[in-house]
Structure formats: C-alpha cells, structure tokens
Symmetry: C2
Subunit: 397 residues, 2 copies
C-alpha cells in the first residue's frame, strides 16, 4: 500500500499551472471573482460557437440508436473524414480519413503517438521554452524530452537542435503558435528543420518524425499564418484539438493526423490506434466526435483575444514588465523584473504576484527560469481590473 | 521513423476482441446485419435510459457559460459528490467526494491507478480468466500482470493467489461480475482474500491494494448481489464506469473511488489525480460528467439480458456446447467442443464459427485456452437467428 516512488518524485515537481489554477479557485471564493486576476490556465473564456451548441442540441435530441456505444478505436469514419478535410486544407496536401485517429484531446493524442514511437530511452527534441506537460507525456512511455533553446526572439535555433540530435532521437516536437511564448515558427525555419533532419537521417539511418502540436493554429494575430509541415517533410504528424479554437477543453476532443507521404503511414496509424486502445482512451468521446464532425469549421471571431493581448501588454508596459509580443495563441511570456534585493527568481515573483491576487505561472516548467507566463484568455474586465495590481506588485517587488 | 519495437510485438498479440468486432463490421456490410451473429464485443445494445437522454437535452440547451472548459483534474465537485453517494450506497460505508476521481471510462481509471501505484517491476495479481486488456494496462506503467487460476467454477482459488503473492505484489485486481466468465465472487471469498492479504502484509511489510473493477455491478441475475469490498479491506479501490449499466461505453465516463479507511487515501488520490493529468486524460469529458451527475441512479431494466442469456444458453445446449452459467454481466464463456480430428483449439474454433457468420473471441487473451467468449448484449433476433448457425458449426467441426 503505497504510491510508486517515481510518481511521488514527479508529483513534487508537478504542475505549477494547475497549482496556480487551483489557488485561484480558492482566492476567488474568498475575495470574489472580480478581485482575483487569474492568468494561470489556458482555459478559453470565449463560449463555443453557436454552431457547436446547435449540433449538441440536434444530437442530444436524435432518435438514432447506438450513438453512445463503442465504435472502432480510431473513431467514426465520418468524423475521421471531416478531420482529413480540415488537415488537407491546412496542410495543402491531401490526406484521407484512414490517416486520422480521433483522440481524447491533443494531450491524449500526443500520449498515443509517443507510446507508438518511443523505444526505451528514445529522445524527443523540443524547441524551448515548451509546454511543461511534454516532459511527462514523454516520460510516461520511457522517453526523454531534450529541450533545445530557441533564439532570443524564441524562433527555432537550428544549431541547438543539431547539437541535440542523436541516434536516439525519435522525433522533434514543435508547438506553433507556441505555448508559452506565442511565437509562430516561420516557414523558412520549418523547412530548415526538415532539411536538417533529412540530412541527419542520411548520416545515421534513422529519420526522426516531426510532430506538430498545434491546438492554437487558428488563433493568430495580424496577417500571420502557421506554415504547413506535410509538404516539406514526409515523416510528419499533426496533433490538434478543439480545446482552444472551439473552446472545448473539458470535452477532450482532438485528433492525430499522419502525413500520407510517410512511407510507414499505415503501420504508424495502426500503432497509434493500438496505443489509443491500450492506454485506456479506447476512443475519443462519441458525442463530441459527432458534434465536431459538423462544426469543425464553424467561424470563430478571435479578435477579442487580440484586444486582450493589446490591453494586457499596455498594462505590462505601464507596470514596466518586459514580455515577448505574441504572434498567436493567448499567452504572454514575461521577464521577471529585478527586485529591490536583486532577485529575478520566477517562483518568488509568482508568490509576490499572488499576494496582489495575480495568478501567473513560473517559467521553470517551460524550461525558462526568470520568466513567467500569463494566460490572457480571460475577460476584458479582469484584465482592466488587474492594472493597479500589476503596478502595485512591481512597486513593492 | 519507425514504430517502437515493443509496440510492434504487443500489436502482434493484439486484441482478438477488436479483430472479431472489426471482422464483424465487414461481414455485416457483405451479408447484411441479420445474417451475421456478432458476439464479439461488450457493446450494450440497450439504449441509454430516457433520463440520460433528457439530461443530455437539458445540458445541451443550457445557457450556463464555461460548461465545456477545464475543471480541476479529478472532475466537478458535484459529480464527485454524486459518485461518492453511489459508492457509499454500494459499499455500505461512507466516502466523500474528495475520495473520487472522475475517469475516462473504467479503462482510463485503471490506467491512472496503475500509473499511481506501480514501481518498475511491480506485479498485479488477477484471478484468471480475466479481461484481456489488463495485461496492457499493467505493462503500460512498467508492471507485470500475474494470473492466478480460479477453481473449475471460476470462483477465486485462494491457494493460487497465495502462491502468486510476493514482495513485488502492488495489488490484486478483481472483476466481479467477471468478464469473461460472468462469475460473481462470493462475500466469503472476498473476505478470505482480504484476510490473506492482511496476513501477507504482516509478513512482508507491504500491503497490496485490492482493486475492484466493477462496471458490471448492476447487471446480475436472480437474487445475486456483488459483495462490498470497502468494509473488509482498508487498502481498497473501486473502479467503475457507466459503459455497461447506462450503455454509454463510447462516451468514456467512469470513476475511481478510494476507500476513506485507507491510511494513505489522501496521498493515493493525489497520485491518481496526477496520473489522470499527465496521461493526457486531463479530466473525464465535461458534458457527460454533468449528465451522469443527475442520472447515475436512473432505473434500468436488465431483464432483457436475462432473456438473452437464457435464449443463448438454450441454443448452446441444443448445439452441444458446454458453458459456465453466468451470474452477472453479459458474457458466456464456452468450452471448445472436441472436433472430429480431436482439436479443441480456440483460435481454430473461432475461425470455424466465423465461416458460419458467428463472431466469438478465443479464450487465449483471457488466460484460458480451449475456451471462447460470446457477448450476448445483442438483439434477441440475432440470438434466435444464430441457432441454426451454431448447430451447423458444431456438426461440421
């Protein structure tokens, strides 16, 4: 009767994001929603589009039978076909439904992919800063996450990736628009990464996959776009979800799409389907598979995220906090200002902010000390109300 | 670019259940639904009760905001409280919502529990025959499943369990009513198991958990009941779902409940919550957490399963196939009759049945050669129509 020792250890270093989110729930109970500025979690505060709600009502009222039963593990054929259409449009190359596996969110999809490809001790390279949970997703399946520091503007640094490459490299994982930096990796950098891996494969005989985790693809600012991956690299996989663009993170609905140009596409899909089954996901939730099969391309107005970004960056400017200007997603990655005693410690600064009812996440978990992350997918009111708190926090730091 | 070698190997020995299920889909396309007798998968053909449908419609129409967002990883407080009520009623001892973790089905729950408790090389003992997927769930987290053969009537054989016990034993996993045998483990046997493990703990200093996987608890025949576990053993965990009793297997909604008498209950719950998060489940699907919070105790008439059991056992009697009389669930475990050439091979017999459009699953994966499993959660018409096919199959075997 005990908890496994390696889990105890992992729990100690566990999610600062979730800790802040749960601290926020407590603070809000004590001080009221309006007096807590919770920038901890990427929990979109936009409601799902009306099309999603209509589809929910339609399927809830349907007299069709068997709609809540098991279906084949990769999902309904009609849902997979819809996702194939989505991915084909985004990637500019055609893939079929058989190359899509429905997943319990992008997190479930990534776990299934990692389980499918990682031999014990294999490595996954990730441009750093990176989404903190990747470390766990990789370790779950006997792999090791190898961060490769990006440039100062958080663009891919191909030299650090070259240094990180080894015969153990199973994949390079990219996340663009990036959580936590908001960076979008350029078309040129994606091409350079692809060429570098092709070169590496020639030398070592092992071609790493490129896995693009892109739940934020639709949330971009100005005239930015996310470059397609499939046309430039055959051994490539896209993992995504409807958590962020359709505001459905709690429903756990996402997918994995394998490049049909990948010579091992069929075997790889079988392995991901197998992993989906044995990891106990079994299949993505049936009801939302139906809902998104008809609403995946519902138009969503993300302009409020731009307004929020601009409102929060102005507040940070006024408070004297430096940040990286996000090109997409809804996170602001901020440099910890130097305190009166000379500290730039991210954990101390987050604790200090919490005293002012501001909830932020230390950059440590994202692979970047002396930085913090603010998620601005919160109401404009919360952002506006936080201005004085930020000022006061910096003044007393 | 490749699939991990250990996954390739696992895939080779992969699920006979799913293979039969998918072979069935193909056969039905070719010969029509009425001419294929698909007993492969535990996919309940009863529709969810009307209460579930009403709740779905209510929540789909609701104007509440934020209902599809993230919530704390273990689930909504109101859903956890409802599950605590359910488990308290079933177990006859009181547990609170904080001892419940909502899961993506029982399969997701078991994976989260195994991840939380298994140190590398730890063992989980299971009375055999057992649900075939347990082997994978255990291996996913570095554990080894150790089958302990039951008695001839499939009741627990305490001697085989005693022999299987070692300092590496992290838990004993019981599944009652059992898949594939339909056996319900008696109150006396549960007590004997508890006492045996308490004795083992005194000797070795390590007390194994008892984990009860009981999605079939509600589906019992005659005056049978499933004995509670919590009152007789403190280090105990119940894992369940609404897949079978409310016919919602595709929606992936289940839970884990930890005995509040367990001295490490709080730490264990934290570890299971952590595992739920990092395995990428993140949380059980939000919509069905709401639905089952109000419908978990909807009355369901399982008498049709009894009718089906009786109809199918009569057909097997007539065809001369021996089986174990199920006390619960909806599976018939049948002995392979001896063929004219003297074969009792379960794989050969399943292939032979498939020629007669009968889909069954070989017992191999369940730990029992020379037996096959039939899932009779199918229409009465399918069962009635299969009579001639069974007779013909046995005659030509």
């Amino acid at each position: 009767m005990s908890v496994a020792p390696q889990i105890l250890k992992a729990m100690e270093n566990s999610s600062a994001i979730r800790k802040a989110f749960e601290a926020g729930i407590k603070l809000k109970k004590e001080f009221g929603n309006d007096n807590v500025y919770d920038f901890s979690l990427g929990n979109p505060d936009l409601e799902p589009p009306v099309e999603v709600k209509k589809a929910m009502q339609k399927f809830a009222a349907s007299d069709d039978t068997g709609t809540h039963g098991y279906m084949p593990n990769p999902g309904y054929d009609f849902t997979r076909a819809a996702m194939a259409k989505k991915v084909s449009e985004e990637q500019g190359v055609s893939i079929e439904g058989k190359n899509v596996i429905m997943a319990c969110g992008a997190a479930g999809g990534l776990n299934a992919v990692f389980k499918a490809i990682l031999a014990p001790g294999d490595e996954i390279i990730v441009p750093s800063p990176f989404f903190a949970e990747y470390t766990h997703y990789c370790a779950n399946h006997g792999g090791v996450l190898v961060p490769a520091m990006t440039n100062e503007d958080f663009s891919i640094n191909i030299e650090t990736i070259k240094k990180a490459l080894s015969p153990k490299t199973a994949a390079v994982l990219i996340n663009s628009p990036n959580n936590p930096t908001g960076k979008i990796y350029s078309k040129e950098d994606i091409k350079l990464l692809a060429d570098t891996l092709t070169e590496h494969a020639k030398k070592t005989g092992r071609k790493p996959y490129i896995i693009a985790d892109e739940p934020y693809r639709a949330i971009v600012y100005g005239n930015k776009t996310v470059a397609p991956l499939f046309p430039v690299y055959d051994a490539s996989i896209v993992v995504s979800s409807f958590a962020k663009n359709l505001s459905l993170p709690g429903e756990r609905i996402g997918y994995v799409a394998v490049n049909s140009a990948c010579p091992e596409a069929e075997l790889l899909c079988s392995a991901i389907i197998f992993a989906t089954r044995v990891l106990g996901y079994v299949n993505a939730p049936a009801f939302f598979q139906r809902v998104i099969s008809e609403t995946w391309n519902a138009p969503v107005d993300f302009s409020s995220y731009l307004l929020r970004r601009n409102a929060l960056t102005k507040i940070l400017d006024d408070a004297g906090i430096h940040y990286a200007e996000p090109e997409g997603a809804f996170y602001l990655f901020c440099k910890v200002p130097k305190s009166k005693s000379g500290s730039t410690d991210e954990n101390e600064f987050c604790s200090h902010l919490e005293k002012h009812h501001i909830l932020a996440v230390p950059g440590t978990g994202f692979g970047k000390k002396e930085w913090i992350r603010l998620a601005y997918c919160v109401s404009e009111k919360t952002i506006a109300n936080s201005a004085e708190a930020f000022k006061a926090a910096v003044k007393t730091w």
